[in-house]
Amino acid sequence: MAGRAAVRPDVLVVGGGNAALCAALAARDAGGRVLLLEKTAPEWRGGNSKYTRNVRVASPEYPEDEFLRDLIEVTGPDLDRQLARFTIGRSRELPAWMEAHGARWQGALRGTLQLSRTNRFFLGGGKALLNAYYRHAERAGVEVRYRTEVLALEIENGVFRRARVRAPEGEAEIEAGAVVVASGGFEGNREWLRRTHGEAADNYLVRGSGANDGRLLGQLLELGARRRGNPHGFHAVACDARAPRAEGGIVTRVDAIPFGIVVNREGRRFADEGADLWPKRYASWGGLIARQPGQLAFSVFDRQVMGRFIPPLYPPYRAERLEDLAGQMGIDAVALIETVEGFNRAVDSDAPYDPGRLDGRGTRGVDPPKSNWALALEQPPFFAYPLRPGITFTYLAVGVDERARVLGEDGHPFANVFAAGEVMAGNVLLNGYLGGFGMTIGSVFGRIAGEEAAVCGRAA
């Protein structure tokens, strides 16, 4: 490092997640000398990508038009439509490319059959995929340095010169012909979240990597990169409040919401638990809970529905009587009982209950209503999960073109600065989420960024 007289790399890849590895492998395949810098120790490598399970790809069974329609449905019409169409088109080639670099597949996981046509599932999940990529990279001669954080990029007149890095041996500067920024969003940065969301941010859980502090995203924007995506937005789902502050992954999400009611710290309901929000349902709950006092809520249900959803990793609170349940939840028993009784009275028990579809079994005369799957909570024991918003990723991004070049405010690309993954996902995903699309974006643009950077980095 500092002092080590390494050959100057053609391509410097910043980050160690999916986008970074795709870029490194593609750049290497294109003949570039590649140095990849990952901020974390090897045990923690892989950023948010290690928590993923699938990638969405267009195929003969899943036409591009349908893919685009699905995307617009969740994210709204303001996306860069041309770039989205381009991304979707290039997603077709992904399975073959991924296999050639060590990916293995499995069938859609139990409970996700609705995704079997549109998504490819990684055997063993994202960490296994990343392990395979790292093995291939190592074999191909990509140099990987862990515990090496890029502090800043030095860019002169739109041209990247060198990166300032901090490694265990100390700080150093690394020159390279081109740079690929694949360092993720800023979901792991409390300070930043506090700036955008105030005190409430202290009560958010980060589902993915606590290391993703958005340092380079912020720096590129300061250096005049075009701003894309919603600076305040993040994707969040309802997670078990007892989960770790970061790195809880997929297992902390709570799927029980539609099966009962949700109350806040004051014991009051605040949203329609039976609304047809699929596929945005869980995402919307993250935001709803974020607006409750203390960013805390509880999913409450009774014996009738126990076992109908995937249990999260912590056992639910459990009591024979609602007042004891309230005690465990740490909220006012009178308020909880009042809410449950009011809800129970309002359940319209004429329609049959059917959790397999929108059954129209709703409530009458209670505000907010529950429009489907309404069952009176009357069969003890009663259960509750404490909920907090769990952030999946942020939407703020730097603008890029179809060659993954970072664009300046004037729409002019930087000469040798490329971006891939979460750091540029906001070009095509402004709101909501389409399962598997994060990995699509990172893989498509990672590959392109790597190839382009190899060409321009070797020339430099």
């Binding site: 293995r104 996981l109 139990r110 063993g124 999940g125 960490k127 770790p244 997929i250 297992v251």
Partner: protein, 366 residues
């Protein structure tokens, strides 16, 4: 080592995480079997533990493995449960203590076996028989009387089968096996699982032993050599019995006879398989519970001794070494037999039963 009850509680915690995650569903039978359960009682955990082939593919794939605070390590936990299970199902229970000193047990039982063989020789033909070379039909029986040899081995076999049977039956009860689990389809599938050692495949790439980062197929191949070696040696014994008792040909048999060919192949496979596994074990940089490593090691050395002494016996059977070698070989074979219920070999039974129950369970699934 933690007691079985603590292990069950820990398994419940970890498997609940797996059931909420499910990413490893495609690797092996463990995760689908876990998903069929919402609670994990002792029998469930024993069942899953014996399904786990310790390929460690799930472990390298697990984002919740240490140093993550969730501390998920399914193969490590399952290894401990299996070990505790060997003790729990050992019969008579007092002998479970032998699992605590596997190397000593193997050594002592091997020596006792040799002593027994020595006594048998002396009893049959006096100590002088040991120093002579013996050739021609019935050469071995100039050392040990045929009836004595046969009676000894039949008695030993009956005893071992009884002891294994009692233990196996208890395990079978615990894992929920019943008559309905014994359907022919499940048997056929289980046979294939055993012969292919299907779940040691790591989902296609091989198992992560000895190198935790780079999968390899060596362990599966070597295991099947060892396994096949034992099977061939057993077949050689059967063939010899047929030739002798049905056809009236007395041993030693010519080099190109069925028993000798089977025995040679078996011995060679055993030597390579056990030796290879010992070598892999030395290279492993894993965190294997030391107990299970010594259990493996003791059995592997014993297997190595059986194979080497068998091959040597074959090569040197016309020399005066035939006596000592026969004693060495018979002694180590007795060692393998007698330690079967109280050593590594019992895993073959536990695993086969668990696979059978799993196949039956999966077939019953709607």
């Amino acid at each position: 080592m933690a007691g079985l009850l603590e292990l069950i509680a820990e398994a419940e915690r970890q498997l609940t995480i797996c059931n909420a995650c499910r990413y490893c569903e495609g690797y092996c039978a463990v995760f689908p079997a876990a998903e069929r359960r919402s609670a994990f009682a002792l029998g469930d955990v024993v069942q899953l533990a014996n399904l786990c082939h310790d390929c460690r593919a799930c472990h390298q794939a697990c984002m919740f493995a240490p140093p993550h605070e969730f501390g998920v390590d399914i193969p490590g936990l399952m290894r401990q449960v299996r070990l505790a299970g060997y003790r729990r199902y050992a019969w008579p229970g007092a002998l479970a203590a032998l699992f605590g000193r596997p190397r000593l047990t193997a050594a002592l039982v091997g020596l006792a076996g040799m002593l027994l063989a020595l006594l048998a020789v002396v009893w049959s033909h006096g100590p002088g028989a040991l120093a002579r070379s013996h050739t021609g039909p019935g050469a071995f029986y100039q050392l040990i009387g045929y009836e004595l040899l046969l009676a000894g081995f039949l008695a030993l076999t009956a005893l071992v089968v009884l002891v294994l049977g009692v233990g196996g039956r208890r395990l079978w009860r615990d894992v929920g096996g019943d008559r309905a689990s014994l359907d022919p389809g499940a048997w056929a599938a289980t046979l294939a699982d055993v012969l292919l050692l299907r779940y040691l495949g790591g989902g296609g790439g091989g198992c992560y032993h000895p190198d935790p980062l780079h999968p390899s197929r060596a362990r599966r191949v070597l295991h099947q050599l060892l396994f096949g070696g034992f099977a061939l040696a057993f077949a050689a014994t059967l063939a010899a019995a047929v030739e002798q008792d049905l056809l009236g040909w007395l041993p030693p048999y010519p080099l190109l006879s069925v028993p000798v060919l089977l025995g040679t192949a078996g011995g060679a496979a055993m030597v390579i398989g056990a030796g290879g596994l010992l070598w892999l074990g030395r290279r492993a940089s894993t965190t294997d519970a030391p107990r299970s490593r010594t259990l493996d090691g003791a059995f592997l050395w014993l297997s190595e001794a059986v194979g080497v002494s068998g091959l040597a016996l074959l090569a040197l059977r016309t020399t005066p070494l035939i006596g000592p070698l026969l004693i060495l070989h018979l002694g180590t074979v007795v060692g393998v037999f007698v330690t079967a219920p109280y050593g590594k070999l019992v895993h073959g039974l536990h695993r086969t039963l668990a696979l059978l129950q799993d196949r039956a369970e999966a077939r019953r699934e709607p």
